[in-house]
């Protein structure tokens, strides 16, 4: 009697688990960028409450990690949508294709500004991207003017640019795994780096060498440019902290000389205690990021697996909600959460592409 009960229980348990593993999925599975995550989750929540569909599940895995999962294949165990704070790369599309994910819909939803800011107890600072590069790069051009590099000798901001305050360089920024860091390096460091003529010439020379067929020389020049422009100093002036961490606010308040690097939505939520520094003459505001005058902003995308539309319920409805005027419009609820909206024409284009499920062409 007892034995047969145990056997039945075991059989039931194994039957349940094997059934569960292959059961159909009735909720949308979203992965990807931690920058898009706060916006994606807001849409998911509203969508779940306002429709009869289940609330989508959103995982924050980073843009690269998300696209990797997204491109692993077609089938219910793979994600339906990948968020990204950059455009999908050619190599990622190739990986997708290899695994049978051939039809991808690309949706551009808005922009995110990257802000360098300090406590409101200190003065608002005007940086140029060149200042930031010289203050934060590991290798900088030799101050004597020759075309060589030295390890960053600057201790105070005033040594970088006499117009800046005479305060020690201390910047709290995201770790290398973060998309915010990638964007900061690309949009601030590299741009500032290329304002130094002989450094910018390096990449020109590399291109010329590649054209002339000297690929070894081209690679060498390219690498030289890359090490110079993309390496952040490691001597303690740049402190790695978590992204969008509430601790950053406390740290900035405790030391008014320090600066932090974070996304615009974070500044927007804490506007009473931290202020954004001006970069190249523009303060980070909705307007300046939206019209492109504030130089440090990046596009926010998500990618949809077309093969899953119609199989997993609600995908098309979800992306329509995301690209509805009440969500990603200038006065939409995503703007309240700090997303910078596209201009009217681009929004109309996006909505149209979404309703036709226009496929990505690279």
């Amino acid at each position: 009697m007892k034995k047969s009960m145990i056997i039945t229980a075991l059989a039931l348990a194994s039957g349940l688990t094997s059934g569960a593993a292959t059961a159909a999925r009735d909720y949308i599975n979203i992965v990807g960028s931690s920058t898009v995550y706060p916006f994606s989750t807001v849409v998911a929540e509203r969508f779940g409450r306002a429709t009869q569909f289940k609330t989508p599940k959103v995982e924050s895995t980073g843009s690269g990690g998300g696209l990797k999962l997204f491109c692993s294949g077609v089938g219910i165990q793979f994600p339906d949508i990948a968020n990204a704070s950059r455009r999908i790369k050619q190599s990622e599309v190739a990986m997708c294709n290899e695994n049978g994910v051939t039809e991808i819909v690309e949706v551009l939803v808005g922009f995110d500004g990257i802000v360098i800011g300090n406590s409101t107890e200190a003065k608002q600072i005007q940086f140029t991207r060149k200042d930031l590069f010289l203050g934060l790069a590991k290798y900088v051009p030799n101050p004597d003017g020759s075309e060589t590099t030295v390890e960053n000798p600057y201790k105070n901001w005033s040594e970088v640019n006499p117009a800046l305050p005479n305060r020690a360089i201390e910047v709290l920024g995201p770790p290398p795994t973060s998309g915010t860091r990638d964007a900061f390096v690309e949009l601030v460091m590299e741009a500032g780096c290329d304002q130094i003529d002989w450094v910018a010439d390096l990449s020109k020379k590399a291109k010329a060498a590649a054209k002339a067929g000297n690929s070894a020389k081209a690679d060498e020049l390219k690498n030289q440019h890359k090490t110079m422009c993309q390496t952040v100093r490691e001597d303690g002036a740049f402190v790695e902290t978590g992204e969008n961490d509430n601790l950053i606010v406390q740290k900035l308040n405790a030391s008014p000389d320090a600066f932090g690097v974070f996304g615009f939505s974070f500044l927007d939520q804490n506007i009473d205690v931290i202020q954004g520094s001006m970069i190249d003459g523009f303060a980070p505001t909705f307007e300046s990021i939206s019209d492109g005058s504030y130089p440090v902003s990046r596009p926010l995308y998500f990618y949809v697996k077309k093969a899953h539309v119609g199989v997993i319920p609600g995908i098309h409805e979800y992306i329509k909600e995301f690209t509805h005027e009440r969500a990603f419009g200038e006065e939409g609820y995503l703007a309240d959460k700090g997303m910078i909206s596209l201009d009217r024409a681009a929004r109309r284009q996006t909505s149209q592409d979404v309703s036709n499920l226009k496929l990505l062409q690279l």
Binding site: T41, S60, I76, Q77, E331
Partner: protein
């Protein structure tokens, strides 16, 4: 031994006595110091968490009169559930606010006014109407949740209206809030939402029920698998296995596994359960399987210790009465070792409850709103919810993070108390 040499020894002893007493006192002082240090850390931690988190158990509500006008709602057939579900409840809330503040005009100001109420207000009304369709056309009062910015302001101001933390509220909004407060229609109430809802991106609507249920299902899977397997392994190793190199090798490996960082188990789970068995990401079933792997060594080790503690005389007596080996083990040794094994299992589970790293790998660090109803629904767990909230930009999540930590601590303390109680209650002394 003569008298004088005895005196010399006594004198020496007496001389050194003071020094020995001092050393003794110092030695005790070190111990007390260590305990005081530990208590201080604990007190600092608890005051910080409770100081930050206690306010999250209260939530500001505002009382508004709403009129369920069928024209405003666009409902012409109240029997149609589709119309009830799709009606414009926001318009009702907005109309009520506009009525309360008739001078507010202009798009910008109106938006600012509407922003004072939580954007979940319309869902609240929908629920009310769905529950009781008779309400259509009637006017009644509702206590609405206020927006998180208003909540933070209300909590931080003193009773005479000073020192409010205005955050993102503008001057006009503060005037409106103050006038509502003076009227007495704004008050702090117990935050039931926090215990009855799943996660939300709006702090005032966020709750931990989803995370608690996720943790519960995960732990159910863990206990259902790890306890029987752990006990069976321990009984075999302790009672049956011969002492040879092979069993020694197994023993070393079990002890080793107990010390392996938990993230490794997460990676293992990712490649086996999700990669090979193609289970879904983020479900408690996979979480439970991973945590089973993690807690097994703890349970095996403590179960073996409990079995070892059963005196041989019990076994000998049972054998003496003609019991078979299985009868000895099942009827005598296991019941006597049970309290110890249960204690080990509970401590292993408490460890599993506080674990985040392996869950990260299998996708349980996710935004899940719907409260999971079984082991195959997507879910998060309590520590994961704490991690996610601590990373949210909204200020009101700071207090909710601390409140969630308090809830987790309550669970951990009660589990450990249960373990101690079981041990005290069921333990037998020989």
């Amino acid at each position: 031994m003569n008298k004088s040499s005895q005196n010399v020894t006594l004198e020496k002893v007496n001389q050194s006595l003071a020094r020995r007493y001092r050393a003794e006192k110092r030695f005790r002082a070190y111990g007390i110091g260590a305990i005081l240090f530990g208590i201080t850390c604990l007190v600092v931690l608890f005051t910080d968490i409770i100081g930050k988190g206690h306010s999250a158990f209260f939530q500001t509500h505002v009382y508004l009169e709403v009129t369920m006008d069928s024209d405003t709602l666009y409902i012409d057939d109240p029997t149609d559930p589709q119309q009830i579900a799709g009606a414009d409840y926001l318009a009702v809330v907005r109309a009520s606010l506009s009525e309360r503040f008739p001078d507010v005009s202009g798009r910008r100001d109106k938006r600012a006014l509407y922003a004072l109420i939580s954007n979940g207000a319309d869902f609240e009304l929908r629920k009310k109407l769905e529950a009781d369709p008779q309400l259509l056309g009637k006017t009644f009062g509702v206590w609405f949740l206020v927006d998180d910015d208003v909540d933070t302001y209300f909590k931080s101001r003193s009773d005479d209206g000073e020192g409010g933390f205005d955050g993102r509220l503008n001057e006009k909004q503060i005037t409106w809030v103050e006038s509502l407060i003076n009227e007495g229609v704004m008050e702090s109430r117990f935050n039931t939402t926090f215990f009855t809802s799943g996660d939300s991106r709006e702090p005032e609507q966020a709750g931990i029920k989803g995370a608690i249920m996720g943790s519960l299902f995960t732990l159910l899977v863990t206990i259902a698998l790890s306890f029987p397997i752990g006990v069976a392994a321990a009984v075999y190793l302790e009672e049956y296995a011969p002492r040879n190199r092979f069993t020694e090798f197994i023993e070393i490996n079990i002890n080793n596994l107990a010390a392996v960082p938990s993230i490794i188990f997460g990676l293992l789970g990712l490649s086996i359960f999700i990669g090979f068995f193609e289970m879904h990401r983020s479900i408690p079933l996979v979480g439970g399987l991973v945590l089973t792997l993690m807690t097994l060594p703890t349970i095996i080790i403590s179960s073996r210790a409990a079995l070892k503690a059963v005196p041989p005389s019990i076994r000998d007596a049972a054998y003496g009465l003609g019991a078979s080996k299985m009868q000895v083990v099942v009827h005598h040794v296991i019941p006597l070792a049970m309290p110890g094994m249960l204690t080990g299992a509970i401590i292993g589970l408490a460890q599993a409850l506080g674990e985040t790293a392996p869950l990260l790998m299998i996708g349980m660090v996710a935004f899940v709103v719907d409260i999971p109803g079984g082991i195959t629904d997507p879910a998060t767990a309590l520590p994961v919810q704490i991690f996610l909230w601590s990373d949210s930009p909204e200020r009101a999540f700071v207090e909710r993070t601390s409140a969630a930590i308090m809830v987790l601590l309550v669970f951990l303390i009660s589990m450990n108390t249960l373990a101690i109680w079981l041990r005290k209650r069921l333990e037998r002394r020989w």
